[in-house]
Amino acid sequence: MSQDNKKVLLQVDNLKKYFPVRAGVFKRVVAHVKAVDDISFKVYEGETIGLVGESGCGKSTTGMTILRLLNPTDGRIVVDGLDTTPLFLPKTRANKYIHEIYISRFNELKNKYKSEDEVIKNLKDDVDKKYAKIYFEKGSHGLHHEMLSNINEKRKWFRRNMQIIFQDPYSSLNPRLRIRSIIAEGLFTHGLVKSGAEATEKIKDLLEKVGLSSEYIYRFPHEFSGGQRQRIGIARALALNPKLIVADEAVSALDVSIQSQVINLLEDLQKEFKLTYVFIAHDLAVVKHISDRVAVMYLGKIVELADKKALFDNPLHPYTVALMSAIPIPDPEYKKKRIILQGDVPSPINPPSGCRFHTRCPIAKDICSKKEPPLVDMGDGHMVACHFAGQFKG
């Protein structure tokens, strides 16, 4: 499949999310937890991208930051060609962001190329091109206006199109609300229904869609099992007819026999509603089953990103290789060599220098602790961040 003629729905550029660590009487910031540290990836319309990694690798934080339930420390989040980063920032930070990311950069480029057209021609990124045109036509005020006018509508548009399904089916539904109120909340917030009766009809429809009886509409969450609650959570996200859904460990807390029901449901809904998924999970087998492309994360970085088949048939990063070999295969006669990684994942407060995996890597050399390997394309969109990519096969 060629990715060039597919539409980019979500583009994440150099995303960083640091959490301050405070200590002492005055709650001084003494360090930062670098949960997500400079990651970039694109999500194409209609695909499922899997984010895998162990606990503390920043996969959930990435999901929450994309959805703007957390504000990014740095970086850009573009949805459907629209830079949504400044939409949820405080006003001063939003203005500073626009100035830093666009205006000052465009000015520098203009000095370099001496011509506005040359600048636009030399910009690689479509989003950059779009905003450069606006800047050169309407000036800095015009760019600010373009990005920050009608901010409430833009925010609503963003919320309507970007939804989330949570891991814990128990704490993700307000225990004091009926199913109808839980699902109706989004419908009313976005004015998608005109009357209560219309909402009820729509909610009954949604419940049937996610495989629940429409008679359940007036029940409370505690009357349902874990799998059923997860379906309700899916219905809540689906109610807004979103384009992209972030599924944050959406099946991890479910019983084995229920997991496959929910996975199948997610696949069916994707076909029916042309959904795009960002599927966050620690279970490699589940990710392999559901995703089209997979990004492997380690300590806040993407170490490998490729088409599913390429990644699982030919993993290039030693961490990916080790991760795959560590997963027990439910077949007693399947023999394989297992790579046991030594030690624990280091703390994201003070990550190792150079390549973050070098402390546990079986093929680490001197250079690994000194120079950080960039994420480079090894062909066919198989991206990997390793100095010795493909040299470790287990």
Partner: protein, 456 residues
């Protein structure tokens, strides 16, 4: 909700200690509401009035005309003694009122002089209190105090005149009686009406407070339970009366203090949690400071500053009693803020204010309310301790702590043995223990029912 509600009720019914608590509580509520029947307040009646009453009764029975003269003379005497005075000076006071109005309409030296001229003879005759005059003359230069003195005077005059009007009415009635003294049948209804008015005026002027335990004997040592005083007598006061009316005091203290303190706490705690940052920091440090002050000490200081009295005690307990709920609600909100359903609502684009009202508060407020219900009992203990230390309810107030305070000197018993005066402690003490127990049991049961973690 119906199913859940039924389940909660069933849980409550099945819990014997909760039922016990509930029954105790209902028992106390009944006692409090029927206190006037269980322990009728004994209004101290003037012997003169008692005498009149018995004469009227006798008259209606015997129709003995000779009693008519006795009664009319009693009425007249009583009238002269109680009301005559007001009528005698009514005109003078009216003149004063006019002078006062003149002055207020036109504040000049001349009018003031006239006002003082009118006032002086009245105070000299002790018709009005001398303080009225003094306050005006001493504060000629202080506008604020002067105005309040004028206001006082105005009220004093008004009160005097209303009494005079009443006296006039009584005089009319008395005249009517005097005109009808020829026949018993005509006299009796008029006399009865007059007596009724007279008695009600008397009770009104007495400012009788049923919460004051009546003094039944001037004997200082406690008296053991008897037929008239089933719980005995302590400090000359009827313990039974005190225990019954003390139930009302208990509810009053518990409910008012806890409700007010909880509202304050909820307000401060939720502001703190919602705004976060330095607002949170400042409010929580203030809370810390309040918490680090020893409660008893500060409550004692505050009641000493404000003066004794039940309302002052309650103010002190509110001022030093809101921190618990503030902290609890803050913690709960901070926790709920990160609950996934709150994040989900945020992801749906729901407004912050709506998230708080719809998602956060309903899930955080119950523990606070339950904790509050459990604190109602302990508030009564605190108030009792303050009373026991002598900074609580005023002397003679029907309050369990005060009754226990009386027992302080008798705790060790007397010549008759160590437990000679047991009743001075056992009855009010038992009432207090049961009251606290009732609230705690009910609060415990509520917590068990509403804790979502324990829900199936």
């Amino acid at each position: 909700m119906n199913e859940e509600y039924k389940r909660a009720l069933r849980k409550f019914y099945k819990n014997p200690s909760a039922m016990f608590g509930l029954i105790l509580l209902i028992f106390f509520i009944l006692i409090a509401s029927f206190a006037p029947l269980l322990a009728p307040p004994q209004i101290p009646i003037d012997p003169e009035i008692e005498n009149m009453e018995s004469m009227i009764n006798q008259l209606s029975e015997t129709k003995d005309t000779s009693l008519i003269d006795d009664l009319t003379s009693s009425f007249s005497d009583y009238y002269d003694f109680t009301y005559g005075f007001y009528l005698d000076y009514a005109d003078d006071v009216k003149k004063l009122e006019k002078a006062l109005k003149n002055y207020q309409a036109n504040k000049n030296e001349e009018n003031l002089k006239k006002l003082i001229d009118e006032l002086t003879p009245l105070t000299e005759d002790y018709v009005l209190d001398t303080s009225y005059l003094e306050n005006i003359q001493n504060n000629l230069n202080d506008t604020k105090k002067f105005n309040s003195a004028l206001k006082d005077l105005e009220n004093g005059v008004k009160a005097f005149l209303s009494k005079a009007t009443n006296a006039e009415k009584m005089k009319k009635e008395l005249d009517e009686i005097n005109s009808k003294n020829s026949s018993v049948d005509e006299f009796l209804p008029a006399a009865k009406k007059y007596f009724k008015d007279l008695k009600s005026n008397y009770i009104k002027d007495l400012h009788y407070d049923p919460y004051l335990m009546p003094i039944v004997t001037y004997e200082n040592t406690p008296q053991p339970p008897s037929k008239e005083h089933p719980f005995g007598i302590s400090n000359g006061r009827d313990i039974y009366y005190g225990v019954v009316w003390g139930t009302r005091t208990g509810f009053k203290i518990g409910l008012i203090v806890v409700i007010t303190a909880t509202i304050i706490g909820l307000f401060i705690g939720s502001i703190s949690a919602y705004f976060g940052g330095w607002v949170d920091e400042v409010l929580m440090r203030i809370t810390d400071i309040f918490m680090s002050i020893p409660f008893m000490l500060s409550a004692m200081v505050l009641t000493t500053v404000l003066g004794t009295g039940l309302d002052k005690v309650m103010i002190a307990m509110i001022v030093f009693g809101w921190m618990g709920s503030a902290r609890l609600i803050r913690g709960n909100i901070l926790q709920a803020k990160n609950d996934q359903y709150v994040l989900a609502a945020k992801a749906l684009g729901v407004k912050d204010s709506k998230i708080i009202v719809k998602h956060i508060l309903p899930n955080t407020i119950f523990p606070v309310l339950i904790q509050a219900s459990m604190r109602i009992g302990s508030m009564v203990i605190t108030a009792a301790v303050l009373s026991f230390l002598g900074v609580g309810a005023p002397q003679g107030y029907a309050d369990w702590g005060s009754i226990l305070n009386y027992a302080r000197n008798w705790i060790l018993g007397g010549t008759g043995g160590a437990f000679e005066y047991w009743y001075t402690i056992v009855y009010p003490g038992t009432a207090m223990v049961l009251f606290v127990l009732a609230w705690n049991l009910v609060g415990d049961a509520l917590r068990d029912i509403f804790d979502p973690k324990l829900r199936g």
